[in-house]
């Protein structure tokens, strides 16, 4: 297969503002290609346009400009009820006057299928999502997790070409959310169904996705695997949005020597792997994750002072002030290294291999 399965070209969506007097651009010139069977997440803060893209794929919004192709067919002008896409809604949108079985069978009833065939498929999918034998339950009596499973089954039973998820876990409590996202990932891998998932929760995106599209203000910031997004963020926005409490420092590129680059910060020189797009004299932002700094009593840059200690059991988080800047530092397995107290003088060691440079 050489052609992408889902292809979005130059997609733009403009809305009129509430007072209808100005245009708001929700999605701007969005391009994306997806392989069959891929799980892709649109990740970004609220209002970044991710849900709007999902709704345009599902047919609930019309693009202002641009095209969406699914399996070599342009689907822009196909009404929602004729599209081969199924959505799992944020609110689940389970029909309250129907039981589980009827909810799941709803979509199948619009096809030329024998009643026996419908029953067979519904029962199969209910078993698949772990709700076998519960078809007669009214949906109002279900727990959040069960409702989620019904919503998933109702969408999957139609075997759509693309399964769309609109923040489906946001109404569940934290523990169930973690359980359900693993469940969704397993189901998706078993069925190999092409899926697009919208969320603002980065952990969810990391767990579920083959690839993540990080969005901001209607535009793509970066597309990549979870690992790429975390370890090699292309913009400061991505570096800041992904991960918790990322530290930033500014420096200057001094020169390139033997395939390495010398970068100056804090009036010291540090040697990094060579970045092809950086030249001598460029100002750079250093992306330093909290776990990339080690603390010790003697070695390294020794002018830090511990200002806050948060003990979390498996790790300790410190706030350390050094060179007039506050750093967030995460130390795993604190029982091994010992714990510093507020007011302690500490030295900072940077894990240079993992620090990433962005052109400022």
């Amino acid at each position: 297969m050489n052609q992408a399965y889902l292809q979005i070209k130059n997609l733009t969506k403009e809305f009129l503002s509430a007072y209808q007097d100005e245009k708001v651009i929700a999605v701007k010139n969005f391009n994306l290609e997806m392989k069959r069977g891929e799980f892709l997440t649109l990740l970004g803060p609220s209002g970044c346009g991710k849900t709007t893209i999902l709704r345009m794929i599902g047919g609930f919004e019309n693009p202002t400009t641009g095209d969406i192709h699914l399996d070599d067919v342009k689907i822009n002008d196909i009404p929602a009820n004729k599209r081969d896409t199924c959505m799992v809604f944020q609110s689940y949108a389970l029909f309250p006057h129907m039981n589980i079985y009827k909810n799941v069978a709803f979509g199948l009833e619009f096809r030329d299928l024998a009643t026996g065939e419908i029953r067979k498929r519904v029962e199969k999918i209910l078993e698949f999502v772990g709700l076998a034998g519960l078809g007669n339950r009214p949906v109002a009596q279900l727990s959040g997790g069960q409702q989620q499973r019904v919503a998933l089954a109702r969408a999957m039973v139609n075997e759509p070409k693309v399964l769309l998820f609109d923040e489906p876990l946001s109404n569940l409590d934290a523990k169930l959310r973690i359980k359900m996202r693993i469940f969704i990932r397993k189901i998706q891998q078993e069925s190999n169904i092409t899926s697009i998932y919208v969320t603002h929760d980065q952990e969810e995106a990391m767990t579920l996705s083959d690839r993540i599209v990080v969005m901001n203000r209607g535009e793509i910031e970066q597309v990549g695997t979870p690992e790429e997004i975390y370890s090699r963020p292309r913009t400061k926005f991505v570096a800041d949005f992904i991960g918790k409490q990322t530290n930033f420092m500014t420096g200057n590129v001094l020169e390139s020597v033997d395939g390495r680059q010398e970068v100056e910060f804090w009036n010291r020189r540090f040697s990094f792997e060579r970045y092809p797009h950086l030249k001598k004299g460029d100002a750079v932002t250093l992306v330093i994750r909290p776990e990339m700094i080690e603390l010790s009593a003697q070695e390294g840059v020794c002018n830090g002072e511990v200002t806050l200690v948060t003990y979390l059991g498996s790790e300790v988080n410190y706030e350390v002030t050094a060179e007039g800047q506050v750093f967030t530092i995460q130390v795993s397995n604190p029982l091994k290294t010992g714990i510093f107290r507020t007011g302690d003088r500490v030295c900072l060691n940077f894990d240079l291999r993992n620090i990433y440079l962005i052109k400022a």
Binding site: G58, G59, F60, N81, T85, C86, A93, H97
Partner: protein
């Protein structure tokens, strides 16, 4: 516009709804305003007789609203916030008058406490004159406190118990807690309920026409103007006198009190714990509610007795004469039933369609439809009746003496309740149901049939039942429209009471009550939990 052209059926429905609202709500109102001349206006409004009636009406509004609101609040508080014994029965009893003709209280009290009253004259041997403002005050208090209680109970229920817990936690208990937390939080809602009651007191026609005697109020004077002098202009002017304060209170209530409410409806019902209150207070509330519950029960007792007694006050021999008369030759009960079924059904259907359009579609005049559908709440029955009689009993539209004029007036008088129920229901049906169904392959028609209609069934029938009961029990709307050809039961009852034929009047009232409660019972059985009435 492009979208409307795509759906011609929708466009026709919109046009129909808008035209109906213009013709049957706006047009009669405008006709009342335009009917009297400026000179007539000054003559009537400067006449001492009508100045006195206006003063009397205001006097009754203040008096009866205060007492209804007070009794209503005590009931609501007892039901919602205490462990007073029998409070469930107090609630049940206080609901009864909501399904009964409003004038029934006055009529029944005449039979109980009047000159020939079974309690005053027969049991106590007193000679009491109940006719006048004091009788009216009693009747209106009993007639209108239940609606106040119902609304205020809703207000109290929606105050989160956590706030009271917080108050108690900070040291406030008992009456201090009530004074500093509960009542201030409930105050906007309570004020809103009182204002709505005051509209009803102002518009009340049935009680004063029966019990107020020489003490005239505006609503009854308007009726006298037409009945006695055939002076439509004078009646129109007096009905305008009713409309202006009623409409102002309505606007004030919606714009000001609505916004001031501290209570936010989140949809999550919080379990309220019933706390024990001091034993003095507990027995005081019990005694208070018992007395007023008894006063309600006596209303029904007297009516049922009256239907089976030969001559109330002088000949107490039992008889089945009046009951038989109703079954043998009484068109008014049949008329009442048929007209009200049609008006109730029409009203529920019309208001659901209007609510659907307003909540789901964007179209020109959408705000007009929204406003006009709620407007009838602010129209006193008397005013609407006069409006219909001016607008539709002479060419170009002459429906004089027809069933149509009664059905239409009752139908449009009642659209506000159904409409508000409908708006609430459509708001609860999340648009994502629509999208989910469409996403699964359902077309617009299928979505309407399989998603919207099943979900709207409960609210539709609630609207139907409320409209039906209001239609079959009203007197004020139809008093200017009923003739011998299209007579309805409430109209006959009024005439029978004023001529002293209490037996037949009581039997007719009882048959209305039986019909109303039967319909209510059937609806409750058929719809179960989905059936909610008077959601305020």
């Amino acid at each position: 516009m492009k979208r409307i052209a795509k759906e011609p059926f929708l466009a026709v429905v919109m046009l129909f709804i808008i035209s109906c609202l213009f013709l049957f709500v706006i047009y009669p109102i405008v006709r009342v305003f335009l009917y009297p001349s400026g000179k007539e206006l000054i003559t009537v409004l400067s006449h001492p007789r009508y100045i006195k009636a206006i003063f009397n009406s205001l006097f009754m509004v203040v008096l009866s609203t205060s007492s209804s609101a007070f009794v209503g609040f005590v009931f609501a508080y007892t039901i919602a916030r205490t462990d007073v014994p029998l409070r469930k029965y107090f609630k049940l009893i206080s609901l009864l008058p909501l399904f009964s003709p409003p004038f029934m209280v006055a009529f029944s009290y005449i039979m109980m406490f009047g000159k020939n009253g079974i309690i005053t004259a027969k049991l106590l041997g007193l000679s009491v004159n109940i006719f006048g403002w004091h009788g009216l005050w009693l009747a209106q208090t009993i007639a209108f406190f239940p609606i106040a209680a119902l609304m205020m109970e809703g207000v109290l229920q929606s105050i989160p118990p956590s706030l009271e817990y917080a108050g108690r936690n900070l040291g406030a208990t008992g009456f201090t807690l009530f004074k500093t937390i509960t009542f201030p939080l409930a105050r906007p809602g309570v004020a809103g309920a009182a204002l709505l009651v005051s509209i009803q007191v102002l518009a009340d026609f049935g009680n004063p026409i029966m019990i107020s005697g020489d003490f005239s109020v505006v609503a009854t004077e308007a009726w006298m103007r037409i009945e006695g002098w055939a002076d439509v202009s004078g009646a129109a002017i007096l009905s305008l006198v009713l409309l202006v304060p009623s409409f102002s209170i309505f606007l004030f209530q919606r714009l000001w009190v609505g916004k001031k409410s501290y209570v936010t409806i989140t949809g999550k019902s919080t379990q309220i714990d019933i706390r024990r209150i001091g034993s003095f207070m507990r027995w005081f509330l019990f005694a208070f509610c018992s007395v007023f519950s008894l006063l309600i029960l006596l209303v029904y007792l007297a009516l049922f007795m009256g239907a089976f007694v030969n001559g109330w006050g002088f000949d107490w021999t039992p008889t089945l004469r009046y009951v038989r008369e109703i079954f043998s030759r009484s068109t008014e009960v049949t008329n009442s039933l048929v007209f009200s079924l049609l008006a109730g059904g029409g009203s529920a259907l019309f208001s659901m369609v209007a609510a659907y359009l307003v909540s789901r579609k964007k179209f020109f005049l959408r705000r007009f439809v929204d406003f006009t559908c709620i407007l009838p709440t602010a129209l006193p029955g008397i005013f609407l009746g006069i409006g219909y009689s001016i607008a539709f009993t002479r060419p170009p539209v002459d429906l004089h003496g027809t069933a149509a004029i009664i059905i239409l007036s009752l139908m449009f008088w009642n659209i506000a309740m159904g409409y508000q129920t409908g708006i609430g229901a459509f708001q609860q049906i999340s648009p994502s149901f629509h999208e989910a169904a469409s996403n699964l392959g359902a077309s617009s028609m299928r979505i309407f049939k399989e998603i919207e209609i099943p979900l709207i069934k409960g609210p539709f029938f609630s609207a139907f039942i409320v409209s039906f009961i209001r239609a079959i029990t009203t007197l004020s709307v139809i008093v200017f429209l009923a003739t011998s050809k299209n007579v309805v039961a409430t109209f006959s009852i009024m005439n029978l009471v004023s001529d002293g034929f209490y037996g037949k009047a009581a039997a007719l009232t009882c048959s209305l009550l039986i019909i109303a409660f039967l319909v209510l019972g059937i609806a409750k059985l058929a719809l179960g939990k989905r059936f909610e009435l008077f959601k305020v």
